[in-house]
C-alpha cells in the first residue's frame, strides 16, 4: 500500500553554522556538518563567502612570499599610507609594493605587529629594533634614530605592542616574558624619562608562572594575556598607579594576532578555542564565554597543527571575525552578530584561501594579504578563481532513528547562484560516499524582459530565487544532505532544502 511522502523541511539550513561537537543524530538540523567557504548572510542563511580581488599589480619585492601583516598609516592631517611586511621587508603601497626597509637594517623574520599611534606607525617584532614611520620623516626608520627618541634598548624590543591610553605598551621580549614597558605619554619613541615606566608581573601570575603573549586595552583596563592566564589591571590611564583588577587562571592567549576588538568584547584565541571578555556592569568578575564551542575540537586540532602564523581580523561591516591558520591555510569565520544558545558564535570554514594577513580600513574595507599582494574582500572569486561552496547537514533521523528513511526528492531553494552548477548530495547511515544530483542554475538576470538595459540595480528587485526538485535514491535510517557549488562571480545563498522521504519499516 502506497504511503504518503513525509516532508522534512530544512528551513535556513546551517544558519547556526558548523557543529562538530554534538552527536550528529541529536543535532538540530540548523547546524551544519560542513560549511566551507560559507558565511551567514544578512538574512541568516548560509551563503557563499565573498572572494578577494588582488589590487596589487607589482609585487616584485614580495617575491614568492606572502604578505604577513598589513596596516594602514593614518595621521591627523588625513595622510594615509598602506604598509605591509613580507619577504623580510617592510613594504608600502597597494598596487605597486615598495620596499621601505631602512638601510642597514636586516630582517630575517616577518612576524611584525604594526600599530598606529599619534601620527606614527610603529613596527614591533621580537629581537628587532622597532621601526617608525611618520609623515614628516617620510620613511621608515629605526626608532633609535627617530627624533626625540630615548630609552630605546634591546630590552624593549618587544614582540607585542599596544597603542592605548595615550602610550605605547610593549611586552614579550627575548629574555623577559613578564615585563611590560610603556612609553612616555603621547610619545611612542620615548621609553625613558617622562612618565614612561615598566611593570614586572612575574609575581602576579595567578598560577605562579606564565609568559606574556599579548596586551589589550578595554574599558580602562589593561588586559595582559599570558599563555595560560590573564591579568587585568585597572586604571591604566595612569600606569604608575594602575592596580590589579582581576586575574584569570587556566585561560590564556595563543597568539597576539588572534586578539581582536569587537567594540563590546575582546576576542582572542585560547588553547581551548575562541574566547571573549563580556562586559559586565554588575559583576566584578570577568565572565568568559566560549565562542567556538561548536568546533572546539577542530580548533584545538588546528592550533596544535599550526606551524606558521595566526592571523585574525574583525570586520564590523561583514559581521565576522576571521581566524586564519596560515600554515594550514584554514580560516574560520565566526559570525559575531549574535551567539547561539550555548554562547557560541556561528562559525563556518574557509579552507585554502591563501590568506596570510588582514586589515580593515576606517572605511570598512577589508584588505587581505596573500602571495599576490594586497586584495580587497570583494566579489565572489578568489582573484578570478572560483572556489567551492559546501554545505552538509548533520545526519537526519527525522525524529525516529529506528525506521528506514527512503529519500524521494530534494527540493533546494537557492538565492543567486547565477549560472552556477549545483551539486546536491546525500548519503545514508554516516556513509561518506555521497550520491549526487547535479543541476545548473540558469542565468539570474534580474532585468525585465531579459534585456540588459534593465539589469541595472535601479530596475531590479535583488537576487532571484531558484527552486529545483531532484529525485533521489537509496535508503537508510539516517540521512545526510549536502550541497556544493563552485562560486565564480555570483553569490549563492541556501534558503531551504525540502526533503521528501518515505518512512519505512522498523529495523
Amino acid at each position: 500500500m502506497a504511503q504518503e511522502l513525509q516532508s522534512i523541511n530544512l528551513v535556513a539550513p546551517a544558519f547556526k553554522g558548523i557543529n562538530t561537537e554534538d552527536s550528529p543524530l541529536a543535532q538540530d538540523p540548523s547546524f551544519a556538518e560542513i560549511a566551507d567557504n560559507a558565511v551567514i548572510d544578512k538574512r541568516g542563511r548560509i551563503a557563499a563567502r565573498k572572494g578577494h580581488t588582488v589590487i596589487t599589480t607589482n609585487n616584485t619585492v614580495l617575491g614568492t612570499d606572502s604578505l604577513r601583516a598589513i596596516k594602514d598609516y593614518r595621521d591627523n592631517a588625513g595622510n594615509t599610507k598602506l604598509f605591509s611586511v613580507g619577504n623580510n621587508k617592510i613594504i608600502s603601497g597597494t598596487t605597486t609594493l615598495v620596499d621601505e626597509t631602512p638601510a642597514s637594517y636586516t630582517i630575517n623574520a616577518n612576524d611584525w605587529k604594526i600599530v598606529n599611534f599619534n601620527d606614527h606607525l610603529f613596527f614591533f617584532q621580537r629581537g628587532f629594533e622597532p621601526l617608525v614611520y611618520s609623515q614628516h620623516t617620510g620613511a621608515v626608520e629605526k626608532m633609535s634614530v627617530h627624533a626625540h627618541s630615548s630609552g630605546v634598548a634591546s630590552t624593549m624590543y618587544g614582540h607585542e605592542v599596544l597603542a592605548a591610553y595615550g602610550r605605547l605598551w610593549t611586552a614579550d621580549f627575548s629574555t623577559d616574558k613578564s615585563t611590560i614597558y610603556w612609553s612616555d605619554l603621547l610619545d611612542g619613541v620615548a621609553w625613558s624619562g617622562g612618565s614612561s615606566g615598566n611593570i614586572d608581573i612575574s609575581k602576579v601570575w595567578p598560577d605562579g608562572y606564565d609568559e606574556i603573549v599579548s596586551l589589550a586595552a578595554h574599558n580602562d583596563l589593561l588586559i595582559i594575556f599570558g599563555k595560560h592566564s590573564i591579568v587585568v589591571y585597572a586604571g591604566a590611564t595612569s600606569p604608575a598607579s594602575m592596580t590589579l583588577s582581576d586575574t584569570i587562571a587556566g585561560i590564556g592567549c595563543v597568539n597576539r594576532d588572534t586578539v581582536q576588538y569587537t567594540g563590546t568584547d575582546v576576542l582572542f584565541l585560547a588553547h581551548t578555542g575562541l574566547k571573549s571578555f563580556g562586559r559586565t556592569i554588575q559583576e566584578k568578575s570577568m565572565p568568559i564565554s566560549s565562542l567556538s564551542g561548536n568546533i572546539t575540537k577542530d580548533l584545538i586540532a588546528a592550533l596544535q597543527n599550526e606551524t606558521e602564523f595566526f592571523r585574525s581580523v574583525y570586520s564590523p561591516e561583514e559581521g565576522f571575525y576571521l581566524l586564519t591558520f596560515t600554515g594550514q591555510d584554514m580560516t574560520y569565520c565566526f559570525d559575531v552578530r549574535g551567539t547561539l544558545e550555548n554562547g557560541s558564535y556561528r562559525v563556518t570554514r574557509w579552507p585554502s584561501t591563501g590568506f596570510t594577513s588582514f586589515t580593515t580600513l576606517t572605511d570598512g574595507t577589508l584588505y587581505i594579504g596573500t602571495s599576490n599582494g594586497i586584495s580587497t574582500h570583494t566579489g565572489y572569486t578568489d582573484n578570478n578563481v572560483s572556489y567551492r561552496f559546501k554545505y552538509y547537514s548533520p545526519s537526519l533521523t527525522f525524529g525516529d532513528s529506528s525506521r528506514i528513511k527512503i529519500l524521494k526528492k530534494l527540493k533546494p531553494t537557492l538565492v543567486g547562484a547565477n549560472n552556477a552548477t549545483v551539486f546536491m548530495k546525500w548519503s545514508y547511515d554516516f556513509d561518506t560516499t555521497y550520491a549526487t544530483a547535479e543541476f545548473t542554475v540558469g542565468t539570474q538576470i534580474t532585468g525585465f524582459y531579459g534585456e540588459s538595459e534593465y539589469t541595472t540595480v535601479e530596475f531590479t528587485g535583488g537576487q532571484l530565487t531558484n527552486q529545483r526538485s531532484l529525485n533521489t535514491t537509496g535508503y537508510g535510517t539516517s540521512v545526510q544532505v549536502g550541497l556544493e557549488s563552485e562560486i565564480n562571480g555570483s553569490s549563492l545563498s541556501l534558503q531551504e532544502i525540502n526533503v521528501m522521504a518515505l518512512i519505512g519499516k522498523l529495523l
Binding site: G197, K203, A240
Partner: protein, 501 residues
C-alpha cells in the same frame, strides 16, 4: 756734792757725795763716794774712800808697812792738801766756769735730744701707722687675708685644715677663673692640641695664688697683728702704756723699741689671700673641673654627636618605616604593582615615591634635628660650663661679700689706729717740747749762776757797811791754783811712788 772736772765723759758712776772725777776718766761703774777720786791715768781706777782714809798700824812689819804707807799717804794727802790749798782760792772761778760750761753743753744737747726724740717719734709713728694684716673668716670656713709683703702671717685664730693646693687640679699654670688649655685661652677659639683631653680643665694655679691659698684659714673678726683692732690704741700688744715725766721718756722709748723691734718692716706690696674651707674647696674643685669639662665638651666638633643623635633618631624611626614599607609592599603586591617602575616617580610607584619621599623627609628632619640637638647640647654644655664656672666662684664671691663688713671694721680700726698714732705723736711731741723748754731753762739757770760766779771773781767787792773794798782775785789766783795743784799732784805721785818702793 759731785764734781766732774771738765773733760770727763763718763755716763754713769763717778763721785757722789763730794767725789772728784778727773778729766779722762771713762769708767762706767763703780767709783768713789764720799770724797773718792777717779783717776784716768790709773786705767780708770777708782780709789775708794776707805782706801784713801786708811791709817797705818803700830807694830811689826805691818806696822812698818803701815808706817811706810802712812808716809806715802801722808805725802799723798799732803799733795792733796797742797792742791786743795791751791784750789780753794780758785774755787769760785772754777765753779763758775764749770757751770757755764755745763749750761753750754746742755743747750747743745737740747737740739740733739730734740732731733733724736723727733726721729724716734717719727719712726714709731711710721711703725704704728703701717698697714696691719687682717683676716676675715666666714662662718662657712673661708678666709680672706690681707698683709703687706714681708709681714708675718696673721696669727691663726682657729686651726682649720689647710686648703689643699690647687696644683693637682689646675695643672697647667692657668689662673682660676679663666678656662684655659695648654695652648691658650679657650675663648680665643684657637682650639686645643688634638691629643689633649678635653676634660682636663685648668691645670695649675698662678704662683701668686699658691702661697695664699695654702694659708691656714683663720677664724675671728677683724684683727690686727696683735689683737682686735677694736682696742684702737695703736700700741703693740703687751707694751705697757706710756706714762711718766719727760725725764723718763728715754726709758719709755727704749721699752717701745724693745717691743717694736720684732715687727718686720714691709718688704713688698700688699698681699691678699683667700682660702676656702675644705667643703667649699671640694665644691670649688668639682664645679671648676666640671666647668672645664663642660667647656671642653662644648668645644668638641658636633659632627660625631650629630651622627650619634641621628643614628638614635633613625633607630627610633626605622621600625615604623619598616612596618610602613612592609604594608606598602603588601598593598602593592595585592594590587599587582610590586614590579612597577615609573620614570615619573623616580623608578617606582607613586606610593613608593611618596613613602620614600616621606622617609627621606624624615631622614632630613632627623638630620636637621640631630644638628639642632647637637648644637643645643653644645650650647647647653657651654651654659652648664658657665653656670659651673660661676658657681665655682660662688664661695669666693660670698667670701668677698662677707669681706665688706669686715673691711669696714678694718677701715674703722685703721682709722682708729691712725688717729691713735697721730694723737700719740702729737702728745709725745708736746712732751718733747716741754722737756726741751725745761732743759733750756735749766741750762739758762746754770749759765746764769756760772756767769754770776765769774763776774764776782773779777769784780771788787765793797762792804757797804764798812766801806772796805776787797780786790778781785783775778788771774793771779788762777796761777796760784794751777801752781798749787801741780805741786800737790807731784806730792801725791811721789807718795804713790813711795808705796811701790
Amino acid at each position: 756734792m759731785i764734781m766732774n772736772i771738765p773733760g770727763y765723759t763718763g755716763t754713769s758712776g763717778g763721785l757722789s757725795s763730794g767725789g772728784l772725777n778727773l778729766p779722762g776718766y771713762t769708767g762706767q761703774s763703780g767709783g768713789l763716794s764720799g770724797g773718792g777720786l777717779n783717776i784716768p791715768t790709773m786705767g780708770n781706777a777708782n780709789i775708794s774712800p776707805q782706801l784713801a782714809a786708811a791709817t797705818p798700824g803700830s807694830s811689826g812689819g805691818f806696822g812698818q808697812f803701815l808706817t811706810g804707807a802712812g808716809n806715802v799717804l801722808g805725802d799723798i794727802f799732803g799733795g792733796v792738801q797742797q792742791i786743795g790749798s791751791a784750789i780753794s782760792p780758785a774755787i769760785p772761778a772754777i765753779a763758775g766756769s764749770l757751770l757755764t760750761k755745763e749750761a753750754y753743753d746742755r743747750l747743745s744737747n737740747v737740739g740733739d735730744t730734740a732731733y733724736q726724740r723727733s726721729m724716734d717719734l717719727a719712726e714709731r709713728g711710721q711703725q704704728e701707722s703701717q698697714f696691719r694684716p687682717f683676716t676675715v673668716t666666714t662662718p662657712t670656713g673661708s678666709a680672706f687675708t690681707a698683709r703687706m709683703g714681708g709681714q708675718p702671717q696673721p696669727p691663726m685664730m682657729t686651726g682649720g685644715p689647710v686648703a689643699p693646693p690647687f696644683t693637682p687640679v689646675l695643672r697647667s699654670g692657668v689662673m682660676p677663673g679663666t678656662v684655659m688649655d695648654a695652648g691658650g685661652a679657650f675663648g680665643s677659639g684657637q682650639g686645643r692640641p688634638p691629643a689633649m683631653p678635653v676634660t682636663g680643665g685648668p691645670a695649675q694655679l698662678p704662683p701668686q695664688f699658691t702661697p695664699v691659698l695654702n694659708q691656714v684659714p683663720m677664724t675671728g673678726t677683724v684683727m690686727d697683728g696683735g689683737g682686735a683692732f677694736g682696742s684702737g690704741q695703736g700700741r703693740p700688744a703687751g707694751m705697757p702704756r706710756f706714762a711718766g715725766s719727760p725725764d723718763s721718756q728715754p726709758a719709755a722709748d727704749a721699752i717701745a723699741r724693745q717691743y717694736q723691734q720684732p715687727t718686720p718692716q714691709p718688704q713688698g706690696g700688699l698681699e691678699i689671700g683667700m682660702s676656702l674651707s675644705p667643703e667649699e674647696q671640694s665644691m670649688y674643685e668639682g664645679l671648676f673641673g666640671g666647668a672645664g669639662r663642660f667647656f671642653g665638651q662644648a668645644q668638641q666638633p658636633t659632627a660625631g654627636r650629630e651622627q650619634e643623635i641621628f643614628n638614635r633618631m633613625r633607630a627610633a624611626q626605622m621600625p615604623e618605616e619598616q612596618r610602613q614599607r612592609l604594608a606598602l609592599e603588601e598593598r602593592l603586591a595585592a594590587q599587582g604593582r610590586l614590579g612597577t617602575s615609573s620614570a615619573a616617580f623616580g623608578g617606582a610607584t607613586p606610593e613608593m615615591l611618596a613613602m620614600a619621599t616621606a622617609q627621606e623627609e624624615g631622614r632630613n628632619r632627623a638630620m636637621l634635628g640631630a644638628m639642632q640637638q647637637a648644637q643645643a647640647e653644645q650650647m647647653q654644655q657651654a651654659s652648664l660650663g658657665q653656670q659651673f664656672l660661676g658657681s665655682s666662684y660662688l664661695p669666693q664671691q660670698q667670701l668677698l661679700a662677707a669681706l665688706q663688713p669686715g673691711l669696714t671694721q678694718q677701715q674703722m680700726a685703721q682709722q682708729a689706729q691712725q688717729f691713735g698714732t697721730g694723737l700719740f705723736g702729737e702728745t709725745a711731741l708736746s712732751g718733747i717740747e716741754a722737756q726741751l723748754l725745761a732743759e733750756q731753762a735749766r741750762a739758762n739757770l746754770l749759765g746764769g749762776v756760772g756767769s754770776n760766779i765769774l763776774a764776782g771773781m773779777f769784780t771788787p767787792q765793797t762792804n757797804k757797811v764798812t766801806g772796805a773794798t776787797t780786790p778781785a782775785a783775778g788771774i793771779g789766783d788762777l796761777g796760784g791754783l794751777f801752781g798749787g795743784v801741780s805741786e800737790g799732784l807731784g806730792t801725791i805721785i811721789r807718795g804713790i811712788g813711795g808705796i811701790f818702793d
